[in-house]
């Protein structure tokens, strides 16, 4: 069956994805569909292929087989301007350690992603303020270094959302947070599909975080399986 969440309008459509690391096969036929407004958690042991799956979705790694589509458009691999444009418009990414720039304040950090995507400065600033406001971040001109770990991760979420992507990918978004902040950020992330309408794919080791997703899968032997151990290899 195909791992499918909200099939009516798939924001992410992965079909028969295969990929190798060197000569070692990492993904051996992954199928995953996530519709807008829905959330999926992908778990797996180290080396199971979670990062490779993310890289394929982002177009940073060329799969050896299968396809990845976001909002019906096939994801282009590589660093060509068309691939980059597609990535900017369709995918937002939240990194484990946030990767915020310490010299910038929260608005600037968030707006920067908008500017890189070609937004007009005024629009980028307006959207950044609105997002931060919605996520409960004080829009002061202080450096992000002066914010707590949880606040920084929320700023990172706002940055991932500024270009209004239909697909939001979070790579271990709570990996560097304490339990309180982990819960705060998880709350925020998993309400986004409902409030913003994007599809959310969270890659995590943490079962507590994964349990908040509408569907949770585990990558085992290069394939997605359900928590019950069923291989997801066809449309349900």
């Amino acid at each position: 069956m195909i791992a499918a969440v909200g099939l009516s309008s798939a924001a992410l459509d992965v079909e028969g994805l295969t990929a190798t690391l060197g000569r070692r096969p990492v993904l051996t036929g992954v199928d995953l569909q996530v519709a807008g407004g829905r959330s999926v958690a992908v778990m797996g042991d180290s080396g199971s292929g979670k990062s490779t799956l993310l890289n394929c979705i982002l177009g940073l790694v060329r799969p050896t087989g299968g396809s990845v589509s976001v909002c019906g458009q096939q994801v282009r691999s590589g660093l060509s301007s068309r691939a980059a444009r597609q990535r900017r418009r369709s995918v937002g990414v939240v990194f484990q350690s946030g990767h915020l720039l310490p010299e910038l304040d929260p608005v600037e950090n968030v707006a920067l992603a908008g500017l890189l995507a070609g937004l007009r400065p005024q629009d980028a600033a307006r959207r950044a303020r609105a997002l931060l406001d919605r996520l409960g971040i004080d829009c002061s001109s202080r450096s992000v270094l002066e914010y707590s770990g949880g606040e920084r991760q929320r700023i990172a979420v706002a940055r991932a959302l500024i270009n209004e992507p239909p697909l939001l990918i979070a790579d271990e978004p709570t990996g560097s947070l304490d339990p309180t902040n982990r819960d705060t950020v998880s709350d925020l992330l998993f309400t986004l599909p409902a409030t913003v309408g994007c599809a959310l794919v969270v890659v995590t080791h943490d079962p507590v975080v994964a349990s908040r997703a509408e569907s949770t899968y585990r990558l085992t032997d290069g394939r997605l399986v359900t928590e019950a151990g069923l291989t997801v290899s066809g449309r349900a």
């Binding site: 691939a83 990535r87 990767h99 010299e103 400065p121």
Partner: protein, 735 residues
């Protein structure tokens, strides 16, 4: 661990050295530091070796004087110092006594009467100036007879039958013997003092080289600290840790030393000749220094290694961030004070009539500005950062926004990184300034030459010197003689001028058989020139209608030759006539020409300082750029995920330019301006003060010192930008 031998530890260190951009930059900076250090030590050896050779050769050509003329085997006299192209020429008069008369070293034959034997450099100079002033040349002096290979030296033999009594030729028994009264030529007398050369080399090459090694080694301190911790945890003691550290840098140290050794080796085979610097170090001379040069290479390598390892220890104990600081506000008070101090120094030095005080003010002011300049750079970067941020917001430029904000928020940190450039430029600039220092007399001489040219030329000679009347007759068509005799009584100088009535009329002065006072401003340029040169409070003129009146006894007599038509006299023609008629010639020139010769020599020292200064600035700029690059790469790690996720890479070059090139440019410009402006009150344009010294800040050096950091910063920024583009392409979310 204990079983691992030292070579294995070094090999491990080599593998730990890394292959990334920073590792490559570090390699270049440490190799450059090692190269410069070894070259600076080798240059010190060459300078000292050359000085010793100069002294030995000066001794070898010095005459062995003998009081009893009956023991004389040759006659010898220092006729004086002539000049060709503003370079001093040692003019020596020699004559054999008997058939087996000894010759000075480097001279293989006696010149024929009235002929000359000249040095190769003099031959070139005479040829370049189309001059035959020393008459027919019989031979060229070989190198062992020259104090310096490029010395201008001539041995003249008086014409046959010439009366040499006036030439004061001394009886000699030979040349090159041990004597306490060596007679030195221009090659020895005009050579720079060794202490000056040592200072110049140490400041311009050795210190920048050590700074390169320090900055290069500390660039890796974060990674080194991490590795050291791991190694310590694994049980490595300091010695083993040091061996691993040696392995990390031994490649760069070896390359730097090898290039230096190769350069020194090639130099000993080919010699070094740089005409623009009047430098000539023949291969044969350099080969005599082979052993100390080899030692310099070894010491250079050891010193470079010790510096790198010591720096590694510092880096192990402290984080680089601790060394650099993390302040985020520019110290505005110091920033404002910096230009105030510059202005105060200019004003005080320009206003003060006290020559010594001016020097102290300049020295103290320079130290103060060196301390304050990083604050000014910090404030300027802060303002530029604000402007760039605002521009970034208005045009939607991510690089401007991010880079500008970085400069705005961390200006002190950035300025501290660039402070090395400020210090280096100011320090190197000071060396150039002091190397090219000239006294008021030089400028007065230059002004005199510009105003009067060679319409009046002088020589100090007795009025009764043999051959003088022949010379005056030979030159009578173009030059008229005026004799100057100066007497000083109780610090009151009186000059008595003696000439013919015809010459007095030519000078617009009345004829008078008795001495008549001459007004200070005679309204005739040539007479004014003579009065000015006399330097006396009172000048009198005495004329005679037929021939010259008797020259008064007492005091030294100076012969002034005045151009009859008021135009410039040909020094070459006059001196050629003098050498042909007066034994040893007259060395006629404008009276203050000695100052101009000294000035030219100082200018040449300034050119050396400029050359070394540019090399030192380049090294410091490169090392500082390496440190800035490390900072840019560290910061870049945070923008790479965003760039990869958004697929934007073009802004990384702009960001690297702002983070690396801009601080270096601002630091370079600020320091170059400070170097150029600080002595503005002590340049010749600020007015002449008796006894004062004047500086010649070089526009070329200032521009070079401002441009070199910028260019280095540009290159490093492009390298960093390209490296980050590759990092973006390689980046994956799991990193």
């Amino acid at each position: 661990m204990n079983a691992i031998g030292p070579f294995a530890l070094i090999a491990i260190g080599r593998r730990l050295g890394g292959r990334g951009l920073l590792a490559r930059l570090r390699f270049v900076v440490i190799a450059l530091g090692s190269l410069l250090l070894t070259l600076s030590l080798s240059t010190l050896v060459v300078a000292h070796g050359t000085a010793q050779l100069t002294a030995e050769r000066s001794q070898a050509v010095s005459p062995e004087l003998v009081e009893d003329a009956s023991h004389a085997r040759a006659l010898y006299s220092v006729a004086g110092f002539d000049s060709v192209g503003d370079e001093p020429v040692t003019v020596l008069l020699i004559a054999p006594v008997g058939k087996d008369a000894p010759l000075p070293a480097g001279v293989n034959q006696w010149p024929r009467p009235g002929h000359a034997i000249i040095s190769p450099a003099l031959a070139d100079a005479l040829s370049a100036h189309h001059s035959r002033r020393f008459g027919p040349v019989d031979a060229i002096i070989s190198p062992e007879g020259l104090e310096r290979p490029n010395e201008l030296r001539v041995y003249l033999r008086p014409p046959a039958g010439a009366d040499t009594a006036g030439a004061e030729m001394m009886p000699v028994t030979g040349f090159g013997g041990q004597t306490d009264n060596s007679i030195h030529g221009a090659g020895f007398l005009y050579a720079a003092k060794l202490s000056q050369i040592d200072l110049m080399l140490v400041v311009c090459l050795t210190l920048p080289a050590l700074a390169c090694l320090f900055l290069g080694a500390i660039t890796a301190s974060t990674a080194m600290r991490r590795r050291s911790t791991v190694l310590s945890a694994l049980g490595a003691d300091r010695a083993r840790s040091m061996l691993i550290g040696l392995g990390e840098h031994c490649g760069a140290l070896a390359v730097g030393t090898a290039v230096a050794a190769a350069t020194v080796g090639v130099a000993t085979l080919t010699g070094i000749r740089l005409d623009v610097l009047h430098a000539d170090y023949p291969a044969a001379d350099l080969r005599t220094m082979a052993a100390p040069l080899a030692l310099a290479v070894v010491v250079g390598a050891l010193l470079a290694t010790a510096t790198v390892l010591a720096t590694r220890e510092i880096g192990r104990r402290y984080r680089t961030r601790d060394l650099l600081g993390t302040d985020d506000r520019p110290p505005m008070l110091q920033a404002v004070l910096a230009p105030c101090v510059v202005t105060a120094v200019i004003w005080l030095t320009a206003q003060s009539p006290n020559a010594a005080l001016r020097i102290y003010v300049l020295a103290l002011g320079t130290v103060a500005v060196a301390l304050l300049l990083p604050a000014l750079v910090s404030a300027v970067l802060h303002l530029i950062g604000k402007t760039l941020t605002a521009t970034g917001w208005s045009v939607g430029g991510p690089a401007l926004l991010t880079g500008g904000r970085g400069l705005e928020r961390f200006p002190t940190r950035t300025a501290r990184l660039a402070a090395g450039v400020c210090f280096a430029i100011l320090l190197l600039g000071q060396v150039q300034l002091w190397a090219s220092t000239l006294g008021a007399q030089y400028y007065a001489a230059e002004a005199g030459r510009d105003m009067y040219g060679t319409t009046v030329v002088s020589a100090t000679i007795s009025p009764t010197a043999p051959g003088l009347s022949k010379f005056l007759t030979a030159t009578a068509a173009t030059a008229a003689p005026v004799w100057e005799v100066t007497n000083v009584d109780d610090a009151f100088a009186t000059t008595h001028l003696v000439t013919t009535c015809r010459t007095a009329t030519l000078l617009g002065a009345p004829c008078s058989a008795t001495p008549e006072p001459v007004p200070p401003d005679s309204s005739h340029p040539q007479l004014d020139r003579i009065i000015q040169l006399s330097g006396s409070e009172q000048v009198t003129l005495q004329t005679s209608r037929s021939g010259l009146p008797a020259i008064p006894d007492g005091g030294g007599a100076t012969l002034d030759l005045v151009a009859r038509d008021g135009t410039d006299l040909s020094l070459d023609t006059l001196n050629r006539a003098a050498y042909a008629t007066v034994p040893g010639g007259l060395q006629l020139d404008t009276p203050e020409h000695g100052w101009i010769i000294s000035g030219e020599i100082n200018h040449n020292r300034g050119r050396w300082a400029t050359l070394y200064g540019i090399a030192g600035t380049l090294a410091i700029a490169l090392a500082t750029a390496c440190l800035l690059a490390r900072d840019a790469v560290d910061s870049g790690r945070r923008v790479i995920p965003l760039s990869a996720a958004t697929g934007r890479r073009s802004w990384l070059l702009g960001l690297a330019l702002i983070r690396t090139t801009l601080p270096l440019t601002v630091a370079g410009i600020a320091a170059a301006c400070a170097y150029y402006l600080l002595p503005a009150g002590m340049t010749v344009d600020s007015g002449l003060i008796t006894g004062a010294v004047y500086f010649n800040p070089s526009v070329g050096l200032a521009v070079a010192m401002a441009l070199v950091p910028t260019l280095v910063g540009l290159v490093i920024a492009v390298i960093v930008g390209q490296s980050q583009r590759r990092d973006v392409a390689r980046w994956r979310p799991d990193e």
